[in-house]
Symmetry: C2
Subunit: 118 residues, 2 copies
Amino acid sequence: MKTYSPGLHFIGDIEAENVAPMFDAKACKTLIDALITKHGLNKVGEVYHSFDNAGFTAAICLTESHISVHTWPEYGRVTFDVFLSNYENNNDGKGEDIFNEISAYFSAITVAKNILRR
Amino acid sequence: MKTYSPGLHFIGDIEAENVAPMFDAKACKTLIDALITKHGLNKVGEVYHSFDNAGFTAAICLTESHISVHTWPEYGRVTFDVFLSNYENNNDGKGEDIFNEISAYFSAITVAKNILRR
């Protein structure tokens, strides 16, 4: 029997000056899909919802749990999280890479990073 | 201008003996929809994915951010989170109530609760 190991939950709060990517849900989807492919994760569903003249909110369900992104261009902020379970494999490094890639994508000036071992 | 106040993020890890609800995505959706209505939140999209002979994973996107639920009946565990922004209203109490309702719904014997002020 495999051991119960729900994995690491990375939770980030970004501040950035370039708010253009915070309006563009489609470009964010391209990034997330590329990261899912890069790390061999399995997407089982997704939501990308754009608000009128504002940011977007996204949640991507994975066999390994989820990724979420909420953008706030009116404040130059992005809140996001990456939670990958370790049931099939140890995904700790993958979660960290996805966290860093999303931070870089939004050209974060500061990122508050919280990591929860679950 | 409204102030930036992304809100509270409640993160829970449940242990329970009755695993039947962990197989039933449809019943969980009924609960979540009722909680969204109860608190006047706004759903903008959702994913409920059931794994074969196993648990389910769900992510519900809200104007106020998201709720996620991942069940592990093989271990009697549920990982979930509730993140409600305070942009339009202070939703701290609503997040706490939803957290408690989900814990009760799964007949949690223990719940590890983490709260992040974002």
